[in-house]
Symmetry: C2
Subunit: 401 residues, 2 copies
């Protein structure tokens, strides 16, 4: 079958590791597959280039940044192709442009518009291993662009979708997606399969195996995504559409996000437009609001609670300070954590939420905010209880079994 | 006027030096000029990448090498453009492809076929400083190529020719072209002007300011070339066509080449085809023969003397050993030096050669071979006398005056 593999910066961080990647690619090829490989820059290279640019300017032109930043992936692609040929395999390195990756002109964070796969297809048909420099493309009029954070993953997923590869394997330095962060709960188990939607919830909530952009694109293009460890031969986690997952677990994992802060607007007038006014101002300042909770008011007054990234709390305070006096009774709390229970199976099972609340109550953990979706229950608690909450929930849903 | 400037690896070897280059470019711009800048990779970068490739293969695919090696110049171009913009100037970095440089497909040593200057012209007309990544281009069908040694100089000269720039300034770490090597003769003087043909003779004979390819291209495209020092404001040396040089000096410089070896084929049959046979075999092995001297024979026998680069002497011996017995009487001498007197003015002056021979005779230096062209007299001598020969000739032709 046709497999797209992507190796991240750590996996190609040294010449020895590139040799190791070459070996893996060869094994995949020898198993009878056709292979397209997407590579990142050697770890540290991109940061070095960014530092160079910042030596000259705090706000370097994004157009020039893309010529600068796209160089690291080209180096890795060329080296891997050379290594593969030395072992007797047909291989060729391609830049983003040569791989046919056409983007919009949002320099440093371009979106892939389309991929002209004809040249890659020709090479693959010719039994050649194609090595693509990740993270980059060109605009319709020929300017070099880069795709922003997680750009190489995105390159791999987009190519897999466009060329209709059977599998897209993303190699990192972890084994896959876990039921929760193993540093918090050593009994955490690696998941064999997870749906796109579950992965989206798990990723945004802190399980940083894959950027959401890549998972969203995989979902849109129906790409079977596997996250694997480039330093061992473990099976990894398949991220696929829900229909492909036979036995749907009620709960797949527990995610923790400690980088949120809570904002409580107390005793505002309970009338239309109040919430809209707050969140429009925050949006204008590009502040990402995550959870929003508003309770039914009484006496014509209500409370609005929401969370923002902790790093944006100071800017949030400035925005809130500029609002009219009616919103001036505001409390802020940076010492919170958001614990989430994620699972496609909870759609068809009742009692998942109540078990979560029971578990918190037994441990005497106060729940400050609650927000639920079809496949997720999120609770905001005092951050000092976050590890305890994760461990007890992990046990309560028997995720270690 | 429109000026193309080229800065080599040493001139952009650190971030501080790139800042220094930005300052120079700005001064040129502020003098009322339009500027296109061609840059090399930061010194050491290209060698580092070559070492990386050789870690995997002694004979890496040249096509991949070009994707690898073209990355260094892109980094410098982006950084310089960022530095210029930070100082308030309009600037844009271009890759070789974006600069419209189309080459043949001789990877790692491509020749420039043509330059589509339309995009650069538009930017220049728009008062923008254009910063081009040197040393690279693409083939007609879109593969990345590099131009080989001296490739960035070549990029600058070719752009200057194609866009009809008034001047092409090549910045290195020396002040220009000297009457002879200042390390041998401290009284050596920098030349203000030198013709293309003189420069070709001086370069090939050891004055390594410019690669011959660049001088040849400048001559062909009629580009006024200036070599200057990026670390001071000295005037440099203008390399231009002979007609532009008003006062033609009889002798412009003394060049020394110690990296030659002499091969003497003694007592071969003096009949047609003998010399041709030797030099065809050497050419088949890609051995560069420099001087060839054959004297009028007697008794049906003659001697053929020639020189090859010292580094190719061992391969030469192998070729000579395979020739038929009639050529077997061969002597080799690696301890020779070639001293050359170069000057366009000697065309119209007699006595230049005899002064050279007189000078050698006075110092008791035996001349082993002599070869002359319209603008050059070359003498092969014992290498132990080479510095003495250069100094006495320099004085005899009053080059220190």
């Amino acid at each position: 079958m046709l497999i797209v593999q992507k190796y991240g910066g750590t996996s190609v961080g040294t010449l020895e590791r590139i040799a190791n990647v070459a070996q893996r690619v060869i094994e995949t090829k020898n198993d009878g597959n056709k292979v397209i490989v997407v590579v990142s820059a050697m770890s540290g290279e991109t940061n070095k280039l960014v530092d160079f640019a910042h030596h000259f300017s705090k706000t370097p032109a994004t157009r020039d940044m893309d010529i600068l930043l796209s160089s690291g992936e080209r180096v890795t692609a060329a080296l891997l192709s050379i290594a593969l040929q030395e072992k007797g395999y047909k291989a060729v390195a391609l830049t983003g442009r040569q791989a046919g990756i056409i983007t919009d002109n949002s320099f440093t964070k371009a979106r892939i518009d389309r991929i002209d796969t004809s040249y890659m297809q020709k090479l693959v048909d010719d039994d050649c291993i194609v090595v693509v420099a990740g993270f980059q493309g060109i605009t319709e009029d020929g300017s070099v662009t880069t795709l922003g954070r997680g750009g190489s993953d995105l390159t791999a997923v987009a190519i897999a979708g466009a060329i209709e590869a059977e599998l897209c394997e993303i190699f990192t330095d972890v084994d896959g997606v876990y039921t929760t962060d193993p540093r918090i709960e050593p009994k955490a188990k690696k998941l064999d399969m997870v749906s796109y939607d579950e992965m989206l919830e798990l990723a945004s909530l802190g399980a940083k195996v894959l950027q959401n952009r890549s998972v969203e694109l995989a979902k849109k293009l129906n790409v079977n995504l596997v996250t694997r460890n480039s330093f061992n031969n473990n099976q990894g986690t398949l991220i696929t559409k829900e229909e492909n997952i036979m036995e749907k677990p009620i709960v797949s994992g527990i995610a923790l996000d400690k980088n949120q802060a809570r904002v409580s607007v107390i005793n505002v007038d309970d009338k239309p437009g109040i919430a809209a006014n707050i969140f429009r101002k925050l949006a204008e300042e590009n502040i990402n609001v995550d959870m929003i909770v508003q309770t039914v008011g009484h006496d014509g007054k209500t409370d609005i609670d929401f969370t923002v990234p902790e790093s944006e709390l100071e800017r949030t305070k400035i925005v809130m300070g500029k609002l009219s006096d009616s919103y001036k009774n505001v409390e802020y709390d940076a010492s919170i954590a958001k614990v989430s229970i994620v699972g496609v199976g909870m759609k068809s099972h009742s009692g998942v939420a109540s078990k979560a609340f029971d578990t918190m109550a037994k441990e005497n953990i106060n729940i400050v905010m609650i927000s639920t979706s079809e496949i997720k229950i999120s609770m905001v608690i005092d951050s000092k209880y976050s590890e305890l909450a994760v461990r007890t929930l992990h046990e309560a849903y028997e995720l270690d079994k």
